[in-house]
Symmetry: C2
């Protein structure tokens, strides 16, 4: 078996997310597996580094798969892109070490959440931005990120109420950048729980609205209670930008 | 009457172009006129600087209109953007001099035509690029632009066979820039005939394919015959970038 690694980008607008789910065939993973099965005549499992939710985009998703017969990365790249729809693109295919696993070996992921302040300015990016109507105090939002940074139990920010595994994660950084038409929130962490970035954004928006104390994040983390955090921000604003490995 | 000038951008994908045409109401001009009529209770004529064709985009279209009752540009801007669909955005509204006319006073227009070489790289821009399959010799294309530059009768590059007015135009420059995934053609001129940029692109692509001599442009201009030029390149790759005034 040869192990391959690929870099993928997609506009998640019309997909049910990365991961295949039973009968639903409208996922990025399934599109890739179907094409690789057609190419090789065998069933191929494609493992993504980040299981992005329905409607979430990716500019730097990493995935990995094994083929029983070795083929050149160039041939695989051309074949897959030939059959993929226009809203999914494989940027590169490489042979990976035999033990490489796109998810377990990932050491760092970067997500970007884009909040728009002026929809007229985002005609060409409109599907990748959450247009917010109102004024956000980004200084207060930045204060709130201080308590959120670092290793914590993020159960309050976990969208899966039946999560049995550890909800402890290390959130290395949250960067907030504001321009005239947009507020960008960049999240850098070792890994993220389901909906974690979007619940963080929903909570930070409430801070920016003045409806939540920027210094209440410690208490919110300690509560370990999803109902105490803000709403899950819309999927369209979120993009998986990068996955790093050692 | 107060004269207003506005800067507009749009994704032209789902429109029948800028200019209203009889009963067809799916044009950018008509969308703007309908909203201004609702706002003011009077019929408003909106004049665009460039009459972009169906499927062509704009990042810097300029338009002008007159209102019998003066309103603040800020109020007009907010009202129009409130009612415009997401794929059209007004970036600014200003009061213009009484004699300003967006089309007659324009001294320079810049159009950009994007040719993609790798659709996998253009997942997020896919609606604004013409993906070309094949290899283009951009050095030959650059040679061809030398004879095209300057003031000529561009009848060979005019899409309207019944054009009665002068087909002489001054094409100040054509810049061709190639990156790994894309070839960009920028056209700077005092004005353009119907389909002129797209016919120039279709002709330059034939030069890039080696099917047309890069030094045959003089003869092609002299022929004054549309059937001698290349095909009209697809609308999706074209964007009106900028309109300049003195």
């Amino acid at each position: 078996m040869t192990n391959y690694r690929m870099l993928i980008q997609y506009d998640g607008t019309r997909y049910n997310g990365w991961q295949k789910q039973g009968d639903t065939d409208n996922t990025i993973q399934q599109k890739l597996e179907t094409i690789l099965a057609r190419m090789t005549g065998e069933q191929v499992d494609v493992h993504g580094a980040g299981r992005t939710d329905a409607g979430v985009h990716a500019r730097g998703q990493v995935a990995q798969f094994r083929l029983s017969e070795e083929r050149s990365p160039k041939e695989i790249l051309a074949y897959i892109n030939e059959y993929l729809p226009d809203d999914i693109g494989v940027l590169s295919v490489d042979i990976a070490g035999p033990r490489f696993h796109s998810r377990f070996n990932a050491t760092r992921k970067i997500y970007l959440y884009r909040i728009g302040k002026n929809k007229a300015a985002h005609v060409f990016d409109r599907k990748y931005i959450y247009e917010y109507r109102g004024v956000l105090d980004t200084a207060a939002m930045k204060v709130a990120t201080i308590q959120l940074r670092g290793e914590h139990d993020f159960r309050s920010f976990c969208g899966n109420p039946r999560m049995r595994k550890s909800t402890v994660r290390n959130l290395y950084a949250i960067h907030i950048r504001e321009t005239e038409d947009e507020i960008d929130l960049e999240f850098i962490g070792e890994g993220f729980l389901q909906y974690m970035v979007r619940i963080l954004v929903g909570t930070l928006i409430e801070v920016g609205e003045g409806r939540r104390d920027p210094l209440s994040m410690d208490a919110l983390l300690e509560a370990r209670d999803r109902t105490m955090a803000g709403p899950t921000a819309p999927a369209c604003g979120l993009t998986l930008m990068q996955v790093d490995y050692n």
